[in-house]
Amino acid sequence: MGALISKNASAAGISVDAGLTPPEDRWIVRTQFRYMHRKDDPTPMNKEMDTYAFPLVVAYGFRPDLTFMVRQRVKYRKMFMGGSISRDTGLGDLFVLGKYKLYRENTRDYTFGIASTLGLEFPTGDDDFGSETWDLKPGLFTSWRSGPWASDFSIAYKWNGFADKGRDGLDPGDELEVDLAFAHQFSIGQNANISLSPVLEFNYKHILADRMSEHRVSNTGESLFFVSPGLKFTKSSFIMEVLLQFPVWQQQQGSQLKQGTRLIVGTRFMF
């Protein structure tokens, strides 16, 4: 199954606030529901696949300039092939990330922040749900806020198998993620204690082909570009966000399934 479907094809969504580190001693618990659909099998097997992922993220503002984050996700996968259906559930890899504030400027008119991140993914996931390697993920995030307008830009590179190789000596392909987000905030309520923000994101992801014994592994590696409209609801210490990701351009190597429209529904509790 793995040869026809990339395991790491999750392009980030809802990248709002990424460049602004949270206050010291602030806890953030983030849950998400992600639905992904794969279709248009170029082979006669006519495969289709639905994946439901439930990531849970806990972040803590250790210092004003340093935030730690832990993420674990559960995935449920349903595969349709030639009239039969197979189902599979498993844990993804444990991901630990540190975010460091490089720059922040707060003025009466705008807020601007730059933060760098360094993440480490442990090979703890179940078969077909984890990468089976130690992966390193450095990233750079910027955020701009001015009045009701907000924009965020992020770039991250995932160095898969930086310290080891996967099963049978497989060297998994590295990944590049570039995200750009715009949002406009509408304040609701007498004290503006509620806000509703339409969001528009552009998500790009490039995954290099896996390699084995210095040779490219067929049916691996792809490029995806999504245009993603969404909505973000904020009330005091609660945020709810919904994002639809439309794949407007994609290129797969070999006989891989095409990416369909994706849905992200998330909540954030801050305390």
Partner: protein, 106 residues
């Protein structure tokens, strides 16, 4: 033995009620004599921003209450009457919340 335990329980109950009463009186006095200060804060951009700042400001012993408004870019602090509040402690809390203090408003 049971009788002593019963007496002890009654004593504790009275003590508890008495302590609560004295707390109530203290709270009423505090409200009457509380000083309020308003600070300008830059960097709050949404209704979810103020919680982290209020949490840090409320940790200052001299602070009785804190309420931030992101739209007005203001932090309202109520000072405990028996304490003296140093503005620098508030500025430090604002910075630790990743915001920037402006000028004191009043």
């Amino acid at each position: 033995m049971k009788r002593y335990l019963f007496l002890l329980l009654i004593l504790m109950l009275f003590c508890g009620i008495g302590c609560n009463d004295s707390n109530k009186v203290q709270t009423v006095e505090s409200v009457e004599e509380s000083e309020t200060r308003v600070y300008e804060v830059f960097g709050m951009n949404c209704p979810g921003c103020h919680g982290g700042l209020e949490k840090l400001v409320k940790k200052i012993p001299a602070v009785e209450g804190a309420k931030a408004n992101w739209l007005q870019k203001q932090l309202v602090v109520t000072v405990r009457p028996e304490f003296k509040l140093n503005d620098e402690d508030i500025y430090d809390a604002i910075r630790r919340a990743n915001f920037t203090p402006g000028n004191p408003i009043k």
